[in-house]
Amino acid sequence: MHPALAVIKDGTQTYQQKVVSLAHIGEDSISPLKIVPDVQGLLDSGVICNLHEGNAPYRPRYVVPDYELFMEKGSEFLGLEAPKDIWEATNSLLILYRHVPSITTFPVYIGDLDKLLEPFVADGKASYQEALKAISLFLLQIDRTINDSFCHADLGPEATTAGRLILEASREQNNAVPNISLKYDPDLTPDDFAILAAATALDVAKPSFANDRIYRPEFKAMGFDDYAIASCYNGLPKGGGSCTLVRLNLAKAAELAKSRKDFLDRLVPEIVAAQLAYMDERVRFLVNESGFFESSFLVKEGLIKKERFSAMFGLVGLAEAVNAFSDGLRFGHDSGADAFGLAIIEKISELVAAHKCLWLKANHGRYLLHAQVGIDSDKGVSPGCRIPIGDEPELLDHIIRSAPFHKYFASGIGDVFAFEPTARNNPAHLLDVVKGAMKQGLRYMSAYSSDSDVVRITGYLVKRSEIERLRKGEASLQDTSLLGKNAVDGLGVLNRRVRS
């Protein structure tokens, strides 16, 4: 059956999901990129993977609009003036979200929501009841119309009335969308707000905690005044984003090497160069040929700027690659194995930093490293630099062993921990763990309670009840439910060690 006909007849896809699937099939019917045979070989074998990005890049993968500017000026193209109250503010944002491009058609970043909404709820601008109602309806609309849990909202680091209302409403609604990060800085984020965030995480698996003390100076040093966490946990420049994300499958690559030395000295430079060349070609087409940056109203109105777009060099399966050359010693448990893992990442980091993309100005054309969380067809490949599920050390040892990898990945790396439901009685426990983790240098961490309906799959959120719906052969509102179901089956993500 033609793939398009298979999509049309698929009873588990909603109408909107079919439209997106058919668009992808249409895009892939042309091959405008110039790909050399060596790179094509690595793409075909899965060592390099474009993560369903499509054959003809006509929009950046991750668009991170400057929503602050939008709130200040409105939009000429959309015929919107700057909002004056909480109803206009939430309405304007919902309108703009419909027009933010991505691979899925859904926005991967919907703003630092607390900062955007605070001016309309603080200082008695709206009553508590009115503000809660407006924010609850806003979040409900997001969950029911942005049917993809790569949609990400940011909060913090300061506590705000709007931030508290967003957490309260999220807890009440128990929805998978949006994904939420709290940018956390122990000096700027008061404990009571962070504990509310921790309690919310133990109920609905969000927010995650982003180490603001690492992200903020790092993006400043790259020349960006602000950053956002988008999609799973991708740190990106605000008012820009990432043209593409391509990943290297280190687990698969390990099969092509004879020894540790062969892997590190011969193979890694070879496959890194191939991935860089492939990324360059994707960026070239998007920037020079697709016309995106010349035609998008987001660019014309200054909500995104070409010079604030980078691209993400992803990788997965470090643990499996290390274990393949460690004679039974295990990544995450043995210092020698971990040191080899660090040597691999150090090498990749150097090679990527030495490369300049001719078509990008952001970060002087240097790509950002990203520990990719995997795709649903992965089997036996751990996300990024994570310690494999089923082989996790005790909680604090796990964090201490993971932390040294986090500094390399400006555009995202994170660890996920499942907690016993009893931890709900003591959310300060989770906050203590977060504080300690960040002191160790952890960039990003997520937590959920092992009995929650909303669970974190790898970086995105899915409701277990929606996975069950798919198992019965019914459609699910969110396209990510299917990815979650496959990851549960293929990667055993619900078998994470439960921390007591």
């Binding site: 909680l395 604090l396 003591n426 300060a428 504080k435 300690g436 002191k439 007591s500």
Partner: protein
């Protein structure tokens, strides 16, 4: 690994430790490390870690039960090798004396060294058991040293030692978590094989001194007069709070059969959720602010 033996009370530079947890969500506020002391002077039917009640007498009955080669005998002493231990629990089941071959003699420094990589994650240290006060000299030493290392301590106790006689310990500890097993003396004796005279005295003393962090009662229907125990304990907490200005929390724990010895397991009843809610309401009606069901 040092063999066990030697003084168990009075001034001590080491103690017998059943287990150390680097992280816990259920032993006090925030994330806490927990040191479990070996040895208890009560013998509660519902005890969920009965392997901490008695000291190992090196009978060796547990050695053949270990499938992992983690246990051996050397000159009449049982030796445990943690590197080979799979933590399967077979040795504990094989022990007929409510003890464990895995308890270790450790100094306060050794304990704190073991915890030092994790300090950034911890709000403090909780000391539990067994019964912490059975090794009173070492308890006081550990509490003082841990506090000076930046790990404030909560002591989890059955309240059998008169804390008013140990002012240095009380001053050095952040607070105490006190088990009130039953208010009625005869019922307490039947449940724990020990008197509660000093326990009740401690409840009043610690609450009034502002050093009671938490009182707790395990709820199993029919074992003791639950309503009386909850009401009287609540009143004592409240009276202490009036004197100290700090009100302790009261935790009502559902009896859970996990870990309980088979001889008692089948005789004890699980409370239904309605009973737990009714007891919490009783405590709140007395005026307590924080009543927790777990």
């Amino acid at each position: 690994m040092q063999p066990l033996g030697g003084a168990l009370s009075g001034a001590a530079t080491s103690g017998i430790i059943a287990k150390i947890l680097k992280t816990s969500a259920v032993d006090g506020p925030g994330n806490r490390a927990v040191v479990f002391f070996q040895g208890c002077n009560f013998n509660c039917s519902y005890c969920h870690n009965p392997e901490t009640i008695n000291y190992c007498d090196h009978c060796g009955l547990c050695v053949p039960a270990c499938q992992y080669g983690a246990l051996g005998m050397d000159e009449g002493l049982v030796l445990w090798n943690p590197a080979h231990c799979a933590d399967c629990g077979a040795c504990l089941l094989a022990c007929p004396k409510s003890s464990s071959p895995k308890s270790r003699r450790m100094s306060a420094e050794e304990i704190l060294n073991e915890l030092s990589p994790y300090k950034a994650f911890l709000s403090g240290l909780s000391i539990s058991g067994g019964e912490a006060c059975v090794q009173m000299g070492f308890l006081a030493e550990l509490v003082k040293k841990a506090a000076s290392h930046g790990l404030p301590c909560l002591v989890d106790s059955n309240g059998s030692a008169d804390f008013s006689a140990y002012p240095e310990l009380v001053a050095a500890a952040d607070g105490f978590m006190l088990d009130i097993k039953a208010w009625n003396k005869a019922e307490h004796f039947a449940l724990a094989e020990a008197s509660n005279r000093v326990v009740i005295k401690n409840l009043h003393y610690l609450a009034a001194a502002g050093k009671l962090y938490e009182a707790r009662t395990v709820i199993s229907p029919g074992l003791f007069n639950i309503e009386e125990t909850v009401t009287q304990s609540s009143r004592a907490i409240l009276a202490g709070a009036k004197a100290s200005g700090k009100m302790a929390r009261y935790k009502l724990l559902r009896y859970r059969p996990n870990g309980v010895r088979p001889a008692f397991k089948n005789k004890l009843l699980l409370p239904d959720p309605e009973l737990m809610e009714r007891l919490a309401a009783l405590a709140r009606a007395e005026g307590l602010k924080e009543v927790i069901i777990t």
